[in-house]
Symmetry: C2
Subunit: 504 residues, 2 copies
């Protein structure tokens, strides 16, 4: 039956964005992970287009995800803090802010164009009712509004809820188990199942779909199901990667079985670099410097694969400098939807890259919180500022760059560099050897980058910062649906709004 | 004509060992080099078997190459020094030693079995007449006895000769140009041509062959021909890699054109890790620690690909822990030649790995000079000693681990660790997180490794050290053939043998 229905192909292509959590550039076999444990992703790359020069918009979860769905830098869409200069911020349970109504999300525009949209997995754009996915263009949701790390105590602090669409259907560590000791959990398999069923249903309906598939098994605490438990050569992190790789393979297989693979554009990437501070529980950023939380390449260079049999020729490598924000613009382009013109959009359409392997030069702006830290143009990257984390935190054992030390680069103070540091990422992907400022190369390149910076700053109107205010009263005490089934409504404490504290 | 002749396939397979110089594990696209500039090698891997856990026998040129051709560790075949504890040594022009007659070389055994053997490129097992390739089982040679770096002055010190078989046919920087400023040279193309012609001739002859193809364009000073000059995204090093990748593709294409690919076993690897101290002129060791000269993974983990259509199934990855010394044993096995039984051989046959992807556990012993520094067993690696280079040298700017620093690991003193340091290379390929000695894991694993060490030491009879004595009188003043053509015979100074000085 499915095959017959699928013959009536919708005109608009389907979209699947697979967004991993804290997975590093170097975690895929095809990007050099020595244990080569991602056969399905490696095959996806061989059948599609690999992007070694692809970036997330920010080195941590929430701002990165907000940017993917808005096509705009966190500094524009409000996913940053002004509490402390150049500090990272996200959406823990006590956050008051979230994705502003004024932002126009990819899901909203695709919905208007006739798509049915589902998010499977982590949202992370605010958990108060007005910020949830079904208020922002998604028709379906299975997953959680916040990250699945603690608390593990549902009295003083509520466990993270897992939603089915607009209502909570249980909580982590209660109805949705992640074993704290073993890391065993069926969540990735549930996310896989949710994704596959959505694809099947939409194929039956003959309605184009946007599946935003964002499992978080590679975010600490790492989890994996029995099937992949202790199967990796590199511990629990590798187990989680292997299960995700399996799930990716199953999703692509589903598309082929339903005969819709030629009408479905699939993109695989990650929200930020591997969380190197988690040591052997973290992924790999390959040859790049540092990791999550930083604007060095390890923080924002992402594994990225585009797959669309029949449209994207197999076995391509593109050195187009890409961004998760380009998914916004590209999907709209492919869907024939106009990109908003009333505001700056940072994404570009990758259509001609995907189809013709065209490469256009475009700058990458690396922000941390409210500060422009670095800029890439062509193969050059300049650091206006350098910063890892405060020395007090480092001395407590939190190391964003374990085993790596580069004088004047991996700094624990926020150092403003004037003249800026300049690196060539082609011959120096590890940002180890800065180009001296008196050289011909420096004097030729820096003015071009400076011009891009000036242009960028001229049009920069920062959005209202969403991640400044915190309040225990806004936690997930009583999400919608808490009065049903085994779910528990908890009593919120009195409201005490305060400035959030962001340690790095 | 060639096709007709090749129908009479010789019973014994042909062998091609492609040995790169100072190329790092991370330099191949398939091993994660971000610029993905090795399409032919990546294809070779896709058509064959990739070895992510493959090692050279030593972190520098001469000992590594001596081990490949003898199947034995440098400590056995004499390619080490006792002048200074645990110091690296090789065969510069002033070296008095070389490959001892008492060693039984792969070339000698294959020659006895009916093979015709040719070395194309760098020999590096001693340049005095008794040490040259045609005295050690090779029938043909085109290349140089020493490394192609300086001197660039043929009066006080002779330039390195380039041999055709038993006679010099010119010298580097004279008849065989490497432009010091641009790095332009046709040597890789000449080496390619020499290899292809040998393959063609042997196919016509119907005689099995062993081609030891060892170009050195990725060893400083890097060189490249016009065709690939400034074509890489990563500078001159990348240019050289691109040309070598092209040459590999041409050689495999030749085998297919001659229809002998199903009777030819090809193995691609490198003699030691990327020379990270050369900074942006060096290759990449991917996620591994340090580089050439050291016994960290960056010094000895090598890119490795086996290719033999019809015998090795396509698209395989083997986690067999392999060694360049296994080429000795494997080629003999495939040729039906008995491995010498009168001496310890460190290589094992990889036949069942190649054909059936079998994996056997075997230890790797990492030596530096005369000292056993580290041992790998399974996924564990233990460091008995740690050492990078002497602090005085480091303070002069010679850094074997640029941008990397691991306390108590990247030491400039020679530190003897008792209890030894233990790492798990699967979850910690960068040797960053040592497993504490009071843990269950440590207490379980270390005795197993200690047992392998005890066994190894019990049977260890060090060979006569070949790299202790130096003498300016033994330089390439008047190699055979210097009296012909434009070649110049120079006058040697009086003999003054002295202990060689090895800086690290
Ligand atoms: Ca994340
Ligand atoms: Ca070498």
């Amino acid at each position: 039956v499915l095959v017959m229905v699928s013959c009536h192909r919708p005109q608009k292509p389907n979209f699947i964005v697979m967004l991993m959590d804290d997975m590093g550039w170097g975690d895929l076999g095809v990007f050099g992970e020595p244990n080569k444990e991602t056969p399905n992703l490696d095959k996806m790359a061989a059948e599609g287009m690999l992007f070694p020069d692809f970036y997330s918009a920010n080195p941590i979860c929430s701002p990165s995800r907000a940017s993917l769905l808005t096509g705009r830098l966190p500094i524009r869409n409000g996913f940053y803090t002004t509490n402390t200069h150049a500090h990272d911020s996200y959406t823990p349970q006590i956050i008051m802010g979230g994705i502003p109504d004024s932002e126009i999300l990819l899901s909203e525009l695709l919905g208007e164009a006739g798509y049915r949209n589902k998010i499977v997995g982590k949202w992370h754009l605010g958990h108060r009712p007005q910020y949830l996915p079904l208020k922002h263009g998604f028709h379906e949701w299975f997953g959680a509004p916040n990250c699945h790390f603690g608390p593990y105590d549902d009295i003083n602090t509520p466990n993270i809820p897992v939603y089915r669409d607009a209502e909570m259907s249980g909580r982590y560590y209660e109805q949705f188990i992640i074993d704290k000791n073993t890391g065993l959990s069926n969540l990735t398999l549930m996310y896989l199942d949710e994704g596959v069923k959505f694809i099947q249903n939409q194929t039956l309906r003959g309605q184009p779909f946007f599946l935003y598939w964002t499992p978080d098994a590679t975010h600490d605490p790492l989890y994996v199901s029995e099937k992949f438990y202790q199967t990796s050569r590199r511990g629990r992190y590798g187990d989680a990667v292997r299960e995700l790789d399996y799930a990716v393979g199953e999703i692509l297989k589903t598309l082929k079985l339903l005969d819709i693979e030629k009408n479905t554009f699939v993109f695989f990437t990650s929200d930020n670099g591997a969380a190197t501070y988690a040591k052997t529980s973290a992924g790999s950023n390959g040859p790049f410097l540092c990791g999550k939380q930083t604007t060095f390449e390890g923080g924002v260079r992402e594994p990225a694969i585009a797959w669309w049999p029949g449209t994207i020729p197999a076995g391509q490598v593109s050195h187009q400098v890409g961004s998760t924000m380009d998914l916004y613009t590209t999907l709209l382009d492919l869907a024939g939807v106009k990109v908003p013109t009333d505001r700056p959009i940072d994404g570009i359409s990758l259509r001609s890259t995907l189809v013709n392997n065209a490469v256009v030069q475009r700058p990458v702006f690396y922000y941390r919180g409210n500060e422009l830290i670095a800029v890439r143009l062509g193969q050059y990257k300049t650091h206006l500022w350098t910063f890892t984390n405060p020395i007090e935190e480092f001395n407590r054992g939190v190391d964003f760059c374990p085993g790596q030390y580069i004088q004047n680069v991996t700094t624990h103070d926020q150092i403003h560099h004037d003249p800026p540091l300049l690196f060539h990422l082609g011959r120096d992907p590890g940002e180890k050897y800065f180009i001296k400022s008196h050289t011909e190369e420096y004097m030729k390149v820096l003015p071009m980058i400076q011009k891009a910076i000036d242009e960028h700053r001229k049009h920069m109107v920062p959005g209202e910062p969403q991640l400044n205010m915190c309040d225990r009263a806004v936690m997930n005490w009583a999400p919608p649906g808490c009065d049903k089934g085994d779910n528990k409504c908890l009593t919120a404490p009195p409201s005490k709004p305060h400035l959030c504290s962001w340690p790095h």
